[in-house]
């Protein structure tokens, strides 16, 4: 790779107009949250994997500390100051939080310790009336939110989600698991009413779920389009556009966003236009992105490499609507997705086949157990079952102090050379 393409901690080059417009969407969303709070309406700080339709149906405006931490990873207070994520993480570390802990946790805990919640990018998250988290994905979210609740003296609700141990990517949850998870929704609704006075309205929830389903269908359609060769939409575009689907599911604005995105991707496919003019090999990005340096997703482009797929934040098919009992429907929807190591590894192998991936960049997020635990097994399975080689990138998700640019460049350069050599004769779809 030439000297001109230096890796730097900067934003990615996006190929889609909708991706470039997401920032506007995020700014508006943060602004709406502040207006909501200023109007005396309740705000929730929530972990990312809660069923968001619950919030909109209960008149709550949600902020997501994980997303907020990623926002802090790209913003500076002044041109010369360090990233906001680093500033906040330092406050947490000074208070005794280990540097081994998740960057999301350290950043948000430091933000809370700092005291002034408006002293942050986009004016920060509006002060919460409640915190909500789930037990799924990792232990940190549970303990981190508990800790923030103690610091902010704000009530916390935890949705306890039984893990789904299946042989495959999706499966059938057991009746008692569905009953239990459904009860968590009911308890949340009672808790929410107690804190805010807002009553649950099932029709309103069904309305939100209708938008969420329509949005999910669009997102699945986009995923299908992304299987095309050349790749019309890569991981840089996908990570940039995940916000509305991930954090505003259940709203009309999210649906409208993906309608525009789907149309744009579809037009590219019809025009035979890829992310880059000469696509030579397709890669998988496994893990949450290095939010402080999204330019990594363009790194292989000069040699014809594109990131065709990334498992994080992408949707799966949902069961059919059940308007008579939407809470059970939501429970089944969530519990049908396998969460065990086996399920997660199977899912990635399947996706590599579907997206014609020839190499994997495995972001070994040193502070994120959910992602680093399966990574060696995944690399082994990719190699043994699909003949797909991998390279590891080690760093935190938002704390750039853990990122070694030189090391990453060396590894990625060697990897691209190896892929080019390996695929030179094999890549049937080579257009360059």
């Amino acid at each position: 790779m030439s000297e001109q393409q230096k890796v730097a901690t900067k934003g990615s080059r996006k190929t889609l107009e909708a991706a470039r417009n997401t920032w506007k969407f995020i700014m508006q969303d943060y602004g709406e949250g502040h207006e909501h709070k200023n109007a005396g309406k309740p705000v929730v700080w929530s972990c990312a994997t809660v069923e968001k339709e619950l919030y909109y149906s209960m008149g709550l405006f949600p902020y997501y500390p994980e997303q907020f931490a990623s926002l802090c990873a790209v913003r500076r207070k002044t041109k010369d100051s360090e990233k906001e994520a680093v500033r906040f993480a330092r406050y947490a570390e000074q208070a005794g939080y280990s540097t081994d802990l998740c960057g999301y946790e350290r950043v948000c805990t430091g933000y809370v310790i700092n005291g002034d919640l408006s002293d942050a990018p986009l004016g920060g998250m509006a002060p919460p009336d409640m915190l909500v988290t789930t037990s799924t994905v990792c232990d940190v979210r549970l303990k981190w939110f508990e800790d923030m609740a103690q610091r902010l003296q704000v009530p916390l609700f935890t949705l306890d989600r039984p893990e789904s141990v299946f042989e495959n990517i999706m499966g059938h949850p057991k009746p008692h698991e569905i009953r239990y998870y459904r009860s968590q929704f009911e308890d949340f609704l009672s808790f929410s009413t107690e804190v805010t006075g807002n009553k649950f309205d099932q029709d309103r929830l069904n309305e939100c779920l209708d938008w969420a389903y329509k949005t999910n269908e669009l997102r699945l359609e986009i995923l299908e389009l992304r299987k095309n060769i050349p790749s019309p939409m890569g991981s840089a575009d996908s990570f940039a556009t995940m916000y509305p689907g991930m954090y505003c599911s259940g709203t009309e604005k999210a649906y409208e966003f993906y309608k525009t995105l789907r149309d744009e991707v579809k037009a590219k496919v019809e025009a035979g236009k890829g992310q880059i003019p000469n696509e030579r090999f397709r890669l998988l990005w496994y893990g949450i992105p290095t939010w402080f340096n999204m330019s990594i997703f363009n790194y292989f482009e000069p040699v014809g490499g594109v990131f065709a797929y990334e498992p994080a934040y992408n949707p799966v098919p949902w069961p059919t609507r059940n308007t008579a009992d939407p809470l059970t429907e939501m429970a089944i929807r969530t519990l049908s997705i396998g969460t065990s190591m086996g399920s997660r590894i199977r899912a990635v192998l399947e996706q590599c086949r579907e997206y014609n991936v020839v190499g994997g960049v495995l972001a070994y997020l040193i502070t994120c157990r959910a992602y680093y635990l399966p990574v060696l097994e995944l690399a082994r399975a990719l190699k043994e079952e699909l003949g797909v080689p991998s390279v590891f990138i080690e760093c935190d998700l938002v704390d750039e102090r853990s990122y070694s640019e030189a090391q990453v460049r060396t590894r990625m350069d060697a990897f691209s050379e190896m892929i080019l050599k390996k695929t030179g004769a094999e890549v049937a779809y080579q257009t360059g």
Binding site: S98, D100, D139, L156, Q184, A370, Y372
Partner: protein, 389 residues
């Protein structure tokens, strides 16, 4: 009898192998203290806690990244090296992210004694039994949910063993386990005196041995040992009275007790899963047996669990219970790297120790090696000197 405890602690594999050979009974390994051991015991199985070795890894590095919990990696390595080749089954509760992953690693990697018995793609005699333990340990639906989980576990076990496990046997197991808890509690009571009746290390060794040997045998031996101790009037050396809080405490990590004792301290109570959390909560014998087990299991106050109060404090309640009347002079948190739940709760608990109990706190982040422990010696000495004034 002290020798029996020490033998189980030091030569756990040989001791259990010998027991298995002599009795012809089955042995199951398990992770974490919320495992419903009583059901295994009722099925005439010896449940033994899986722990690591502290030796350099031979195989696990190929499967789990080096920054993951060194204890869990060592456990897996021991499994892959065949140290646990006498196990007839393994029980994995969902007790933290990394232990949850052991369901996959032990099922797919660790050699098992028998081939899977597949019927329609389902292994009817699984080697690894997974228990979907809830993270929330209070709330209106937690108990009914967990009871279903335990019923499922019991049925899976019955199918594997091709025998039923009647309630009367579970009730008998509960009574044996309760008797053991009574004796361990008695041992802790004897550590309230100054100096304590026995050292922190000796007490740990007794608790640890209890996780490896049949509970009835353990309870009987411990009763005799404590009777003798009382009549002899022996005590441990005097020392600064320390409360120890930390990650899984096996033979490797237990080196911290020696360092504390060498430095002039004496551990008199703890917040450990090989300690108070393993025995503090008795099983209610007036309840249906599975419910009694479920309630005990949900009462373990693991750092990873949470409760339904608006601002959860379940962990602090356990700490208050296990510090009261022990005249604690200092608290040492010995937490392994990657133990996220403990690392996350530490700053909050440290402040509570200082503000509410007036007890100074030392934090040590361990790497599960004896070398790493030795490097902490100076800090422990300084901490104890500071308390002594």
């Amino acid at each position: 009898m002290e020798k029996t405890f020490a033998r189980y602690a030091a030569d756990r594999h040989d001791s259990v192998r010998k027991w298995k050979q002599e009795t012809g009974k089955k042995v199951y390994g398990y992770f974490c203290c919320m495992t419903p051991e009583e059901i295994l015991y009722a099925a005439d199985i010896l449940p033994v806690r899986i722990t690591g070795t502290g030796e350099p890894l031979e195989h696990a590095d190929a499967y789990i990244q080096s920054n993951a919990c060194a204890f869990a990696r060592s456990c897996l390595d021991a499994g892959l090296r065949g140290h646990y080749d006498y196990l007839d089954g393994v029980v994995v509760p969902n007790s933290c992210d990394i232990i949850f992953s052991m369901e996959y690693f032990w099922r797919t990697l660790v050699p098992r004694p028998t081939k899977p018995a597949l019927i329609a793609g389902v292994d009817i005699k699984p080697y690894v039994h997974y228990i979907n333990y809830p993270e929330k340990i209070t709330g209106r639906e937690v108990l009914p949910y967990y009871l279903e989980v335990l019923k499922g576990f019991k049925q899976e076990l019955e199918r594997s063993l091709n025998r039923s496990i009647p309630d009367v046997d579970i009730e008998r197991a509960i009574s044996v386990y309760n008797e053991d808890k009574v004796q361990i509690r008695r041992m802790y009571e004897m550590r309230r005196s100054d100096p304590p009746a026995l050292s922190g290390y000796d007490a740990w060794q007794i608790v640890y041995a209890g996780l490896l040997m049949p509970k009835d045998e353990h309870a009987a031996l411990l009763k005799d040992y404590l009777d003798d101790l009382r009549s002899d009037g022996q005590t441990a050396p005097e020392g600064v009275r320390i409360y120890l809080s930390g990650s899984a405490m096996d033979l490797v990590n237990a080196g911290i007790y020696k360092i504390i004792e060498d430095s002039g301290g004496q551990v008199v109570s703890d917040d450990l899963c090989v300690g108070t959390r393993a025995f503090w909560y008795h099983l209610k014998q007036d309840l249906p047996p599975l419910e009694a087990i479920a309630r005990r299991s949900l009462g373990t106050a693991c750092p990873r669990s949470t409760v339904t109060t608006a601002i959860p404090e379940n962990r602090w309640a356990h700490i208050v219970n296990t510090t009261q009347n022990f005249n604690i002079e200092g608290a040492i948190f010995y937490v392994l790297k990657c133990c996220d739940a403990r690392l996350s709760e530490f700053p909050h608990l440290r402040d509570k120790f200082k503000e509410e109990l007036g007890i100074p706190v030392l934090f040590l982040e361990g790497d599960y090696t004896s070398e790493g422990l030795e490097q902490m010696r100076g800090r422990v000495e300084a901490f104890i000197e500071m308390i002594e004034g």
